[in-house]
Symmetry: C2
Subunit: 301 residues, 2 copies
DNA sequence: AGAGGTTACGGGCAGCGTAAGGATC
DNA sequence: GATCCTTACGCTGCCCGTAACCTCT
């Protein structure tokens, strides 16, 4: 009897699908199929009804699942309490919101490589609303995303908080003094789309009876927002820390206004599961890297 | 991380030796060595001090051992509670006292084959005093031997009880009536050696002041005792059930005496361990086979 | 037709046993 | 030198991934 087979079985039941279990375990669906059959043959039982679309546990299957859960838990306890953390290994699929890519992701990956040389990290850059379901379904193991969202079924913990700024191209020749709201809305605002804090807040704050809502240009790609802002399409709404280079090179500047924007906060998120020390280790590392990054970048303007 | 490796580690610690663990797990000593190294490498720890002769656990090793024990227990619980018993598989080393060979061992092996086709049973015939330490050290998994010995560190449960008889060759021309003690001691008694019930009892019961102790010929092999008795060397002290064939063929007969011998009882014994459903299953089977044998052989005389 | 599980098959590698090599008493 | 663990090495067989197939909606 094999620990891996029981782990696969556990995930098949937990996720309700051979495919999802395969994704979770970084393997293929046929491999999962094989393992389950082998397990059933070895124990001489049928564990799963899988005639129809949804899989259902047999009585023995339910019993087996309970044991499998305990085994999986024990395994992760061993990794947690006995194993040298630097010997952690395996592949972790990391989802990242783009802002993080532009700030400390590289630092993080380097640190991870240094501390956990045997862990392979597959990075997927995507928008926060796509990252959460991917975590929940097991397609991703861990993510750095906009949050923490307290309603989430995921574990989410604050990582860092970025001051949100109005950014303009010097070519716009805006005054250094704080802009009034009407001066601000003379230009389109370029920002992240609906469902994010800047959009909902600014749309409400800048809507006036006479002129209606401000012109807003949204895009999920931070790079695109930066590029459009540089090209003078409008005023970007971005954390200054994400555009340190552009600011330094004077290709962009911070535009003062009368509005106070709340910080954009990011969180590390992962599914609430009985396993995976690796995730915890990486989450800790992310916290430390993010903290250092914010501390080291305090003097940017 | 591998269930088998942790199991091997468990047995190495439990038995205090790579060699014994290898024997226990039906593998070779280098294989054990490899597994332990692999485990230590994977977890990035040293689990065992093995510079000197005796094996000692490190702190991490002790922690790992606790987890390993729980895993081994869980595994056997799965086998016990979830697995179809008829799907049990593996190799079991069975030690057998010779009397059992001459009574129901073949029945047992056939039944085992029928009920558990995937279990391989290696049979070792030996004397009871050798079987117990072999069980304790893990060289054997289970044994049918003289017992139960209540002082044993082993689990021992009564299997069957054989009436012990005085057996003689017809060639001795002894009378059919009960022999007196002095008539009995006119011939050497052929029986199992010291440390067994018949020897100690009869030596004491038949020793008289004038003639001293009776002449006793002992041998650990039942076959030899039977053969010697057949050849008229003396009067055998044997369970009649072990010589059914010889009695039927009138090559031997039961000799009545004035002495009452207690029954010779046999037990199934195995080490008190956290694992091994297989042993329990086979012990159950042995109980049933032994019971049937005794019931079916009631009319022998 | 598409989603999801099974079967078939070739290839890679983990892990085994044999055998030789230390180390310690 | 005996005992016990480690290292070396060739080989077997398990298990994986690819791909084709089946089945149900």
């Amino acid at each position: 009897m094999n620990l891996k087979s029981l782990e696969v079985f556990y995930w098949v039941v937990k996720l309700g699908s051979f495919n999802k279990a395969a994704a979770k375990q970084n393997t293929t669906q046929p491999a999962v199929s094989q393992r389950i059959s082998a397990l059933e043959t070895e124990l001489g039982i049928k564990a799963l009804h899988r005639s129809t679309r949804a899989i259902a546990l047999t009585a023995k299957g339910r019993a087996l699942f309970d044991y499998a859960e305990r085994l999986v838990t024990l395994k992760s306890e061993i990794l947690m309490n006995v194993a040298d953390k630097s010997a952690l290994s395996g592949t972790i699929r990391l989802g990242v919101a783009e802002t993080i890519v532009h700030t400390w992701l590289v630092d993080f990956l380097e640190e991870a490589q240094r501390n956990y040389p045997d862990i392979t990290i597959d990075v997927v850059v995507d928008i926060t609303p796509s990252l959460r379901p991917a975590l929940a379904s097991g397609e991703l193991d861990i993510a750095f995303l906009l949050g923490p969202n307290t309603n989430s079924e995921l574990v989410e913990e604050k990582l860092c908080s970025y001051e949100l700024n109005f950014i303009a191209s010097p070519a716009l020749k805006l005054p250094a003094r704080p802009l009034s709201n009407s001066e601000l809305t003379a230009h389109p605002l370029i920002m992240l789309p609906k469902l994010t804090y800047p959009y909902t807040y600014l749309r409400k704050a800048l809507t006036t009876i006479e002129r209606g809502p401000p012109r807003i240009l949204t895009h999920w790609s931070l790079s695109t927002i930066v590029r459009m802002t540089e090209d003078g399409f409008g005023i970007g709404v971005l954390p200054k820390l994400a555009i340190a280079k552009e600011l330094k090179q004077k290709r962009l500047r911070i535009q003062k206004t009368n509005l106070h924007l709340q910080n954009l906060t990011f969180a590390v998120a992962y599914a609430r599961e009985s396993d995976e020390v690796t995730k915890l280790a990486l989450a800790d590392l992310a916290r430390s890297v993010a903290k250092n990054f914010v501390a080291g970048a305090r003097n940017i303007d």
